[in-house]
């Protein structure tokens, strides 16, 4: 895998050299090291894969050079410094990537000041796109999944308990779910916020168990924390007590499911992407991914955000024939529709520069011996960020 990467990088560097005049430089900032260092590669691989498969479509003579940088995790001042260098020293045409909200917020003023379009491929706090007119987001907002989840849950359950990590996205999720659930006639019987680094969930689970809600809505950052929550959920007998575990799709990411094992069965989530989705575009995407990076590798929602983000960048380049102008690029982004995304048809909201996408209700089931997020219902085909919609009404 590493050799592939090196070869790719070398090839890119060489090709960039050959056609220097027509090189589009993308400054790609994500997290490769630190506690969340596993997330960066999911994004970079998607970008590289897209470039590899679609390079032919670029106008003749135009090449893309991807300059990758490590922001080491939620580390805004490092992210800002990197963005500044990418703009000043490497003279990039575009900024892209970013896993974490604080990093995106720290980079926003640079995008504004330097007039460089900034394609956000993951960071999901609702406010980000309001911070710079040069920001376009191709990932998601937490409201987009948690709000429909609340609406759906209100039809099924009477009472709910929410458990979220104590940070921005967690607060977003708690508020979105709560608003929709209460508006639909449900009752929140309890809400608790746990520290971001929390190894043991038994105490919280006991608390939830004693409150006897119909369902428990959980949001914690994707990854092994989610596994720990699932195991504790089962260990403390909440599953047997008839409490349904639900949440935004972050809690059952595809790559983490094998680690969770049987305990995850039956968990209901709402999300925009599942690697198990049966749309042709997605089947193709997953197959290409496995071919490129190995049979045991699976793309996840970060990959899809980055894949679609790269598709948007290609659109900008193609429409402008390789000569990128910041204002024009943003205009193109606002008009952008992409029907062939692995997650279904998506577009960019011209008012907010945020993504409009379908949201699916999924259940963890066993498929061919493996656990998978099986899409069972489409809750909305073109969901705008509910937070911004609610803000407008105010």
């Amino acid at each position: 895998m590493r050799t592939i990467k090196i070869a790719l990088a070398a090839a890119l560097a060489l090709s960039a050299f050959a056609a220097a005049a027509q090189t589009i430089k993308i400054g790609f900032i994500t997290s490769y090291s630190g506690l969340n260092g596993n997330l960066g590669p999911y994004m970079e691989r998607a970008v590289r894969l897209y470039i590899k498969e679609h390079q032919k479509e670029l106008p003749p003579g135009v090449k893309i050079e991807l300059i990758t940088r490590d922001d080491t995790g939620p580390n805004p001042d490092k992210a800002r410094q990197l963005a500044q260098e990418l703009v000043v020293r490497d003279k990039v045409n575009l900024l892209a990537g970013v896993v974490f909200t604080p990093n995106a917020l720290a980079i926003a003023p640079i995008a504004t000041e330097a007039k460089v379009p900034f394609v956000i491929m993951n960071a999901g706090t609702a406010v980000i796109t309001t911070r710079s007119p040069y920001i376009v987001r191709t990932s998601f907002t937490l409201w987009q999944s948690s709000y429909p989840l609340g609406e759906w849950a209100a039809k099924k359950f009477k009472t709910a308990y929410t458990l979220v990590s104590d940070f921005g996205p967690g607060h977003d999720s708690e508020e979105a779910f709560g608003k929709a659930f209460t508006a639909g006639g449900g009752k929140i019987v309890g809400a608790v916020r746990a520290p971001l680094q929390n190894p043991d969930w038994a105490a919280y689970m006991q608390r939830v168990k004693d409150a006897k809600p119909d369902c428990l809505m959980v949001f914690i950052p994707a990854g092994k924390t989610a596994t720990a929550v699932m195991k504790n959920f089962a260990d403390l007998g909440l599953k047997d007590a008839g409490i349904k575990l639900i949440g935004p799709g972050d809690i059952t990411t595809d790559e983490e499911l094998p680690n969770m094992g049987e305990v995850a069965l039956g968990v209901i989530t709402v999300h925009h992407y599942s690697a198990a989705a049966t749309r042709p575009a997605n089947k193709q995407f997953v197959a290409d991914w496995k071919k490129e990076f190995g049979q045991n590798e699976t793309p996840n929602f970060l990959s899809v955000g980055s894949w679609d983000g790269t598709a948007l960048i290609f659109e900008m380049i193609k429409q402008q024939k390789g000569k990128l102008d910041a204002e024009r690029s943003i205009e193109i982004a606002k008009q952008w529709r992409f029907d062939n995304s692995p997650r279904g048809p998506i577009s960019i909201d011209p008012e907010t520069r945020d993504i409009i996408q379908p949201e699916y209700l999924r259940e963890v089931k066993k498929e061919g011996g493996h656990l998978a997020n099986v899409e069972i219902e489409t809750l909305g085909t073109a969901v705008k960020d509910p937070w911004k919609e609610l803000q407008k009404k105010k």
């Binding site: 630190g34 260092g37 038994a202 092994k224 403390l236």
Partner: protein, 272 residues
């Protein structure tokens, strides 16, 4: 609770040997990975895999001790801190290279899952098992250190190495064995606890603070100390998260401060 089994190993190296080993979590992580590999690849049953983790980590730690640690016994605290941080970073990169980004999957045997009913309340079987196991371990260790010849030799060697050597104790071998025991216990803890504290490459750094707190609060050089501290902090932390979850994250630090200000050497610390 699992923090205790890991920390008790740290108490052995740090307390008995007087080495500030921040890299202790590395051994715990190694234990967890070995357990996962032994179970998944070689199909060993859980108890056997735990044993393998203990043995392999001990053996591996002897190599490290000979090559690196032994050079630093006489060095200052700062050098030891810096060295072990370096070791953490190296091990994290290696673990990531070998085991990839995700946590190693660990599945408990069925008899450890589910719940047991004690006095009309449900307790998770796994946790009850861990607590009982820890209690047994502490008893064995306490006996070893306080009542056997080996324990006496270790205590003598730490108090005055030159003197111990002059009365014919092979301190080199003694330290090596003690270090192996401490690291092995860490490996054991990491393996046993892998279901609660998922084993991932970032493990040594993530749980560093908890290990340190348990040892500092318990007191250096004491075996009872870390056990009581882990129990106390574990119970207080859980209770606090249950009753007043808003302050869940504060409590552990506030409690640490309060205890350390009240008893600067820790609950059962031996005066330096």
């Amino acid at each position: 609770m699992i923090l205790y089994v890991i920390s008790v190993g740290l108490s052995v190296t740090m307390g008995l040997m007087g080495f500030i080993n921040l890299a202790h979590g590395v051994f715990a992580m190694a234990g967890g990975f070995i357990l996962s590999t032994a179970m998944a690849r070689f199909g060993l049953p859980f108890p056997l895999a735990v044993l393998v983790a203990f043995v392999v980590v001990s053996a591996g730690s002897i190599v490290l001790e000979r090559l690196l640690y032994s050079r630093l016994y006489a060095a200052g605290e700062l050098a030891q801190v810096l060295f072990s941080i370096g070791l953490i970073l190296i091990s994290m990169a290696l673990a990531r290279l070998v085991y990839g980004n995700l946590a190693a999957p660990v599945f408990l045997p069925d008899y450890l899952r589910g719940q047991v009913h004690i006095l009309g309340r449900d307790f998770p079987t796994y946790r009850v098992f861990l607590i009982m196991f820890s209690a047994l371990l502490i008893a064995a260790l306490w006996f070893g250190v306080e009542r056997t010849r080996w324990g006496a030799m270790v205590r003598a060697a730490v108090d005055n190495r030159a003197m111990a050597q002059s009365v014919g104790i092979n301190t080199r071998q003694l330290f090596m064995a003690t270090f192996a025991l401490g690291s092995g216990l860490a490996g054991l803890g990491g393996a046993l606890g892998a279901d609660i504290l998922p084993v991932q490459w970032s493990y040594p750094f993530e749980h560093l603070v908890y290990f340190l707190i348990v040892v500092a609060v318990g007191g250096l050089g004491s075996l009872r100390g870390p056990f009581v501290a882990a129990l106390l902090i574990g119970v207080a932390d859980t209770a606090c998260k249950y009753w007043i979850p808003e302050f869940g994250a504060f409590l552990i630090y506030v409690a640490t401060m309060a205890i350390l200000l009240w008893r600067p050497m820790g609950l059962f610390g031996v005066r330096a």
